[in-house]
Symmetry: C2
């Protein structure tokens, strides 16, 4: 079977395959244009008659659980990334599968991390056929160089939920590593030796997988409260010595930036939001865990404090900064998708105003609405932005896969999406003629803030009007590009082959772009 077939030019003008991994896919049709007509995936009906009446679903090992779950060649096995670079379980699962001689598995993580580098061995020896999830670091290099047997597929957090819910991806066996669980399978992330906050990325897996295995190092008597994951969806519970390394759960980027350029970008972004009338009593925002985003959050905090007003909610990736704001009464709620430090974990455990969310509530585009579109302003990063405001978040300008999509695509639906980015990185312009990989359609990106100027999307005439007399350096995106090229020179295109190594899905499951193989220099 060919790895992919049927190349078409989609509504974004991108040439993408609509046949890969043995299935037909739909090309991207434009924002909000693809209307699903089908029904959600329907998992098999279980019966209590097949489960222990005393609720004790424990089995002795991961391998035993996989055997009882009926593992076989070609199955899809999922995992979540709330332990981030401290995950200890995903690799053990594929170790066990490898020992059992299983081949051609699909690994469906909600994100991958450098601690999972060993998966490369299993990709090489045929235990794993492909990853549908994020490919970064060594996995990104492996993928970019065309070494993955199957077609890797990149989805946003919301797109991952959508794909499972809609049956685009059928999870045979879900692995849910949990900091605390009871023998019935109720599980929580907010307590235990390896507390990671929440388990929302595993929600779809629990609801839709044929078999669900909870792995924990902290068994408590029934009931495990809170039950972020319902034991009623769980087949087996495995006790291990250690489920995650707490100090590596923490994201590397939870300190505000010290770079003068980035501080300037942060200040300009905050001022822009203020002049735009966004920062007001009851407003809401989402800012990630990067240094610039954190700094913008600090500026918002100062404004709230000085004006004695209150935000209604912060969508997070939480860390100590929004936690402090919550505790100081500067915001009513943190709606949190993943905790980035231990203060976030503590707050989620202790504070009813620090609410755990999931890709279902926040990001699933195939729901009856989601939270993302209700956020007043969202601050996101990008590796490249083009003159049509299209943005790239997965590949670097050399063509290598660097990042997963995360919640990035989903967040674009906010009321105002701002990308505070440096105008160039390592003397490579960030504002370009055309992005290497299209991850976000320009129509959803409202503002680019760089250290040398701010560009407002012409679609936002309301904002352009508002900023006619601003002191901020508002320019056109073309002006920004020219300025970058004046400094760095016209960037050379990355040397890419025609061969497609990865596919970028849009939030509705359609094929937005394809990533080409890099010809190593």
């Amino acid at each position: 079977m060919k790895k992919y077939d049927k190349l078409v030019t989609n509504a974004a003008g991108r040439v993408v395959p609509v046949f890969f991994n043995g299935k037909e896919h739909t090309p991207y049709m434009g924002v909000g244009k693809y209307k699903p007509t089908g029904r959600k995936y329907a998992p098999p009906i279980a019966t209590c008659a097949d489960y222990p009446a005393d609720g004790d679903k424990r089995v002795p090992s991961i391998k035993e659980a996989l055997i009882r779950a009926g593992i076989k060649d070609g199955m899809t096995i999922s995992s979540h990334h709330h332990f981030r670079n401290g995950d200890l379980i995903a690799v053990q699962v594929f170790d066990a599968a490898h020992e059992l001689g299983i081949k051609d598995l699909v690994w469906y993580p909600s994100a991958s991390f450098p601690c999972q580098e060993r998966m490369i061995e299993y990709l090489e020896d045929g235990t794993i056929n492909r990853i549908e999830g994020s490919m970064n670091g060594p996995l990104g290099k492996f993928t970019s160089e065309g070494k993955m047997k199957g077609m890797s597929v990149l989805r946003s957090h919301g797109g991952r939920y959508q794909a499972v819910q809609d049956g685009d991806v059928h999870i045979d066996i879900a692995i849910i590593a949990a900091p605390t669980a009871d023998p019935f399978g109720n599980a929580t992330g907010d307590r235990g030796p390896a507390a990671c906050g929440l388990l929302g990325f595993a929600l779809a897996d629990s609801q839709y997988a044929d078999r669900v295995i909870v792995v924990t190092d902290n068994i408590v008597p029934f009931p495990c409260i809170p039950w972020q994951i319902h034991g009623n969806y769980v087949d087996f519970v495995v006790e291990v010595d250690q489920v995650g390394i707490p100090e590596r759960i923490i994201s590397g980027t939870t300190e505000i930036t010290k770079s003068p350029d980035r501080l300037l970008i942060a200040e300009m972004t905050a001022q822009f939001c203020d002049e735009a009338g966004i920062v007001k009593d009851g407003f809401s925002y989402q800012a990630g865990a990067g240094g610039t985003a954190l700094s913008i959050g600090i500026y918002f905090e100062q404004m709230l404090r000085e004006r004695k007003i209150k935000a209604r909610f912060i969508r997070a990736g939480s860390n100590k900064y929004p936690v402090k704001m919550l505790e100081d009464g500067l915001v009513d709620y943190i709606l949190d998708g993943q905790t980035f430090d231990l203060e976030g974990v503590r707050s989620m455990r202790e504070n009813p105003g620090h609410v755990n969310t999931s890709p279902f509530t926040s990001y699933n585009y195939h729901g009856k609405g989601n939270f993302a579109s209700m956020v007043d302003v969202v601050i996101l990063g990008a590796t490249e932005v083009d003159v049509h405001f299209n943005a790239n978040v997965v590949t670097h300008s050399d063509g290598y896969l660097l990042h997963g999509i995360g919640g990035w695509q989903n967040c674009l639906f906010s009321k105002c999406t701002i990308l505070p980015i440096p105008l160039f990185r390592d003397r490579m312009p960030v504002v370009v003629d055309e992005v290497t990989t299209l991850c976000g359609p320009g129509e959803l990106i409202d503002v680019i803030v760089t250290e040398r100027g701010i560009a407002i999307n012409p679609l936002r005439q309301d904002l352009i009007e508002k900023f006619k007399n601003t002191s901020l350096p508002v320019k056109t995106i073309e002006e920004l590009k020219a300025e970058a090229e004046k400094i760095c020179g016209k960037p050379s295109k990355p040397e890419l082959s025609d061969e497609i190594v990865s596919v970028i899905k849009w939030v509705d499951g359609t094929v937005l772009d394809a990533v080409r193989k890099v010809n190593p220099k």
Copy 2:
């Protein structure tokens, strides 16, 4: 179309129809014997593109919401009963349907109450074809006298979830009356002018109905926290002046019994549990809101207090008694399915140890286990018990439908099921040769406690062994029956026609029994 057809004798020896309301059904095959092979019901895939980006789903009225939901003849409309006899919304929905000239609706409440008596008009004029839910009071009389056009179907709370999840019942439009909600449809029962505690009975409706309408009298800005119902499942939100009458939300039976006979039964039951070794550190129990059950709870509380031990959890219907126990540290958790008084509501709002549950977590037999089978002892009522320990909870000895099944069938799966019942009521024996209606198979009922003796099911040889030298009056069930008949005389059978007016489903969706039409005297 015939109202019903295809009579068979099922595994319990009951003659039941396996065709009614236009569909085939499966006859009861024995406890744990029916193994489902299908898949869960798959609701249509929605898309955010069809919902307001600002999350405001409000429409001006219930009628308008029904029109936008596409109401038409023959649809199934669901409602929940957390407002109990203070519900104001269900009747308004059918008022609106009636005004729109809609016919042949199926009403699918989680339970019905006397405040909904007006539904009889709509049953009579053809607006409603039938009720699939509980029929009691005036609705019970109406049904028992054969006046309902379609076949009424009685399900347990868990069976209701199972029926929706499995697609046995397809809800076209779910009505979720909510004490507090936001414009997106996130809703909670634990606060607001008509706070009723939780909304767990509406969970299946929210997850599986084609269209979901939240009705509230207390709109808060997004996000409504907690969100017991996810707005991501909700289509429309309607604001009304009053959603429920708080003083009628309270169940009538939240005071301990003063009857000497019932107090004796309660005391004997508690002593039985103690001698059986059930009352110990970390144990769990479920006792309903009836006077006898409450009194048993008081005895348990005394034992815990005196022995300085702690229960792990109480499954409830909560009221002030378990709330006090939770606050006094006598139990770790209340796992609550419905609040029976305002102390229960307050505690659920304030205490993280007072956990809201749903028929999915607690009772759904077609899950990967549920909570009911993990409870150490459960105290239930019955209208009749026969010499095979089969029990009836829906019809009185005169044949009239009196009660819904509630969680009764689901609770039978506990480790020890005890029915504390009077030996006779109004000079009619409660222990009989054969129950009028079979609701619970005898093999799941362990102990009968009456004021004149205790009968242990011969299947529980372990308990019989344990009670060889007890001071409690342990007798055979035949002895109890003989004693009842000595006092009351042999009871006469109710005068019933052959015509079937209602069907009793078992927890797995099979047909357990049928209720015959009463010939009014």
